[in-house]
């Protein structure tokens, strides 16, 4: 071999040793054959210490079945395989380069498994290449979190923490479609606080807000997990009850009405009692839009108001 090519090889090895990418070569018995500087520095194991040791003994946290399945595929099919941090955050549990400031506890890793053939074309060794993708991963996760938080905020009513009108109507529309498609039924309850204006006028707007918060809490605590309550407008609320016919919805509204009537709301030193009127409408064949459905519930609600408030009317 010429001096030139010897020097080239020397340089190459030096680069592989210092490059900021993890390189491991294992044989088909999973014994470590090669281990570069990145692996030494992040694992704390020197190359000569791990030479010929089983990879799973050195890294007990490495998922055995999963990793063997990947390696088997690479070996048998003689192809390279990639894994991403989205499948598994890491292959080797290493600290990040920013152990103090990073939001990640461990280094996120992408990895590539590469078959190495011997001279007769059989795969005898597997190269494992580890890329540190902590920055990419933490950014993407932060973005996803921010987006889902934004989505949550955009559909929530700030005062009551129930769905706001826009999103709640979207839910109602989806329920309407779902019922049509599967020939199921559902009911809609609209409810409105009786004599809300005097509460505001007598006790102030903060008291009015406290009443609405109290009411929404009572609603939230009493609906089933599948029911969808929302704030429809000022002191008006709506509840979607999937798989519920009119008598059942009526019974539920009646129970809620009683609870609200009984429980006095403590506002500062004052105790305020409120009552609520309800309108119940089960979905009917001839309802084309959610507006039709809402109108029917609204008519029932009007009926309750007309007949003296603090009562439930079903269509």
């Amino acid at each position: 071999m010429s001096d030139q090519s010897l020097r080239d090889i020397h340089w190459m090895l030096e680069i592989l040793q210092t490059i900021d990418v993890g390189l491991v070569v294992i044989n088909i018995e999973y014994e470590i054959q090669n281990w570069n500087g990145f692996m030494e520095n992040h694992s704390g194991h020197r190359a000569q210490k791990v030479q010929n040791r089983n990879l799973f003994d050195v890294f007990p946290e490495l998922p055995h079945t999963w990793f063997c399945q990947k390696v088997d595929t690479v070996r048998e099919l003689n192809i390279r395989a990639f894994t991403t941090w989205e499948q598994r955050p890491y292959l080797f549990r290493f600290r990040t380069y920013h152990p103090i400031t990073s939001t990640a506890e461990y280094m996120y890793q992408n990895s590539m498994l590469y078959p190495l053939e011997n001279t007769s074309g059989e795969v005898e060794y597997i190269a494992i290449v580890i890329f540190d993708v902590t920055d990419v991963a933490t950014n993407k996760l932060a973005l996803q979190q921010a987006n889902s938080e934004l989505a949550r905020i955009s559909r929530t009513d700030a005062l009551t923490q129930l769905y706001n009108r826009g999103y709640w109507e979207e839910c109602l529309y989806r329920e309407l479609l779902r019922c049509r498609r599967h020939q199921h039924t559902a009911s809609l309850i609209l409810l409105d606080v009786d004599h809300f204006k005097p509460v505001n006028d007598t006790h102030g707007h903060t008291a009015g807000d406290a009443v609405l918060r109290h009411l929404s809490r009572t609603i939230r605590q009493n609906v089933r997990e599948t029911d969808i309550p929302g704030r429809y407008g000022g002191e008006e609320f709506g509840i979607i009850l999937p798989e519920t016919d009119s008598p059942k919805a009526f019974a539920f509204a009646e129970r809620l009405r009683g609870l609200i009537e009984e429980e006095a709301i403590q506002i500062g030193d004052n105790s305020v009692s409120i009552t609520v009127s309800f309108g119940v409408a089960e979905l009917e064949q001839n309802m084309q839009t959610i507006e039709d459905w809402i109108t029917r519930a609204d008519e029932a609600l009007y009926q309750s108001k007309q007949s003296g408030r603090n009562q439930v009317t079903a269509t």
Partner: protein
């Protein structure tokens, strides 16, 4: 505007019949090699189609994707490659209803979860894209570097998987292959997209094959 642009840069706006035939045959062979590996992994015979080769503007990519007939939610992985002046991306598109069958064929037990779906997508992508590119590179006498595969989207409608292109007038050479499993309701699309710059170089490469 689009056709002017193509004319100015002197790029082919259409493939000759001979060129299309050539790409189709190269794809046919690469596709078969990938299928052999996938069928070994899944233990199922894979029905091979005739690959479709088309030249279109990136603006029409979404239309091309929708013609692949995924009317339900799908998931996709994409992987870039580059070599000898040829660059492009490979896409694997998977109907979400496929996951259960594939999980069973690959002996993945446990709950169907987001993480498992990424896992399955990556496994299938590794094989189909890896083997296809290997087959293509061998036939055209070149080598490719592969980027890291990326999950393009999960459980989305196909039209929402891709962002609109920044260079909608750019032409792309597209090879589309639909792999389907015999006796299983599983379909998986492999799409290879080559950049406008690559087309000229590729045309030169296939010219050698034709002249030889």
């Amino acid at each position: 505007m689009s056709s002017d642009h193509a004319q100015e840069s002197g790029l082919p706006q259409e493939l000759t019949e001979e060129q299309r035939d050539c790409y189709q045959e190269i794809a046919n062979i690469a596709m078969g090699q990938a299928a052999a590996l996938l069928s070994r992994l899944l233990g199922v015979f894979i029905k091979l189609p005739i690959p479709r080769v088309n030249l279109f503007e990136l603006a029409d990519l979404n239309m091309a994707l929708q013609s692949l007939d995924h009317d339900e939610a799908a998931s996709a992985v994409c992987q870039g490659f580059a070599g000898d002046g040829i660059t492009g991306e490979a896409l694997i598109i998977f109907n979400d209803s496929n996951f259960e069958d594939i999980a069973q064929l690959m002996n993945y037990s446990g709950e169907q979860s987001e993480a498992m779906h990424v896992e399955l997508l990556m496994d299938v992508a590794n094989i189909l894209i890896g083997a296809f590119l290997k087959g293509l590179a061998n036939q055209m006498d070149l080598t490719f570097s592969h980027g890291h595969p990326m999950v393009l989207g999960q459980h989305k409608l196909v039209r929402d998987l891709l962002q609109p292109s920044r260079q909608p007038w750019q032409q792309t050479l597209a090879i589309e292959i639909t792999y389907s499993l015999e006796d299983h309701p599983v379909n998986c699309d492999l799409l290879l997209l080559f950049t406008e710059d690559s087309i000229r170089i590729m045309n030169q490469k296939v010219a050698y094959l034709l002249d030889d």
